[in-house]
């Protein structure tokens, strides 16, 4: 792997045609970077959940934690105690790729490639990252790359090697602004799609939160998913169990639908505006009667 000379600049194609022909002519998997600019909007949670949903549909999925130094994909998946090596070990040839991959506890076709916790993002050379992703694409149908917050080296390393991008934002001005910035910094050809996370329909109705339409108007990206804000996500992270594996979870359902759309299925975007708790509806009814 170290000998591969992937392009030094950020290009979506990461493998050289020569190498492809030399390998068995199988279909290369899709490498998708999940990014946002702003931290805390749900990149890691989305990566874990979409990955789990894809794996539950029978796909071979590798989740790559690109947040060197502040890794959390392992914790969100509940695999933190099973991490033995990380991708820098692989790049630096201290271990084989297989040794670093951590199979998920629940869905066997999903594995995690963890980040190093005690290193820095600058320790990773972009060319090495590109080569690593290229290698993963040979083995997996989907390679989901969890991008760290920011737009520096961590971001640059996460996007290199990706063919597609998912932008995650919350319906809130700072997040949307940062998402917009990031879209501008993505390499060409990634065709980003949008996930609007932590939507609270009641607040949207009361004019206290941006609506999905408003967010989409600003960012102008095709919608991949709309995920409502529910306490069950907190509980799921507490337990280290992706919510998309929970059949009765509303958030899980939203993630499963996003995964379907990722596979090209035509699934209607949820309209949460009609919902609301009893009190909201009562208040709205009373308010309407004044």
């Amino acid at each position: 792997m170290a000998e591969q000379q992937a392009a030094a600049t950020v290009q979506p194609q990461s493998t050289e045609p020569m190498d492809d022909a030399a390998q068995a002519p199988q279909q290369l998997g899709a490498a998708i970077v999940i990014t946002s600019g702003k931290g805390g909007v749900g990149k890691t949670t989305s990566t874990a959940n979409i990955g789990a949903a894809l794996a539950a549909r029978g796909r071979n999925v590798c989740l790559v934690d690109a947040d060197v130094g502040l890794r959390n994909l392992d914790v969100v998946l509940g695999l933190e105690n099973r991490v033995k090596h990380h991708f820098l070990d692989v790049i630096e040839e201290k271990c084989a790729l297989e040794d670093a991959l951590v199979p998920d506890k629940r869905v066997p076709s999903m594995v995690l490639l963890p980040a190093a916790q005690t290193r820095e993002k600058d320790d990773v050379r972009t060319a090495d990252m590109a080569a690593l992703i290229a290698e993963l694409r040979k083995r997996f149908e989907y390679v989901l790359i969890d991008c760290p917050a920011g737009i520096e080296m961590g971001f640059k390393n996460a996007v290199v090697g990706a063919q597609r991008a998912i932008i995650v934002t919350t319906p809130e001005v700072s997040a949307v602004r940062d998402a917009d910035r990031v879209v501008g910094l993505l390499p060409a050809g990634l065709e980003p799609q949008l996930i609007v996370n932590r939507l609270r329909p009641q607040l949207v109705r009361r004019g206290k939160m941006l609506s999905v339409a408003q967010v989409d108007e600003i960012l102008r990206l095709p919608l991949l998913g709309v995920i409502p804000d529910e306490p069950e996500v907190v509980v799921a992270t507490n337990r280290g169990e992706p919510v998309s594996l929970n059949a009765t979870s509303r958030t899980g359902e939203a993630y499963r639908r996003a995964a379907s759309r990722l596979e090209g299925e035509q699934v209607e975007i949820e309209d949460y505006s009609a919902e609301g708790g009893f009190f909201e509806r009562l208040a709205a009814w009373i308010g309407g009667r004044r």
Binding site: N81, Q117, N238
Partner: protein, 157 residues
């Protein structure tokens, strides 16, 4: 986990906050250990120094690591033992680095291990409480005399 635990766990699942706290405890443990290799080295050195007081050990074959497991983080030490001392050596003096060097002639394993593991020297010295000058001298005297005795005791089976 006993069958009773299993049944109880079924009927009364642990609140996720409790689960989270325990997971956090372990993950922070693991993170903090991994982030302080110099402290781990110091610990290793201290361990060697302490165990060396009771037995001769094979420092080349020694392996001290931390292992993260499903429910805990464990300190694992594999320390090949060459011989057990008839009597444990006294603990190293905290405020007297010169003594340990001087004792290189008489002291066998203690000085050797000190030399080979510089962190071990710094460990006790840095972290130990400083004794008063008079106490220090008494202990130094005791150390030196015990080290002088050691070659004889080592000779006897």
């Amino acid at each position: 986990m006993s069958w009773l635990d299993a049944i109880l766990r079924f009927f009364r699942p642990m609140p996720s906050g409790v689960v989270a706290k325990e997971r956090l405890r372990l993950v922070l443990l693991s993170d903090r250990i991994n982030l302080a290799p110099d402290i781990v080295d110091q610990l290793r050195g201290d361990l060697i120094a302490t165990i060396s007081r009771y037995m001769e050990i094979d420092e080349v074959g020694l392996d001290v690591t931390f292992e993260t497991r499903e429910n805990d983080v464990a300190l694992l030490a594999n320390i090949p033992i060459k011989a057990v001392r008839a009597r444990p050596l006294p603990p190293p003096m905290t405020a007297a680095p010169p003594v340990t060097h001087d004792a290189a002639t008489g002291a066998v394993d203690l000085a050797e291990s000190q030399d080979e593991e510089p962190e071990a020297e710094s460990g006790p010295v840095a972290e130990g409480e400083s004794a008063s000058p008079i106490e220090a001298q008494e202990v130094i005297a005791a150390n030196v005399s015990s080290r002088r005795k050691r070659p004889k005791s080592k000779g006897s089976p």
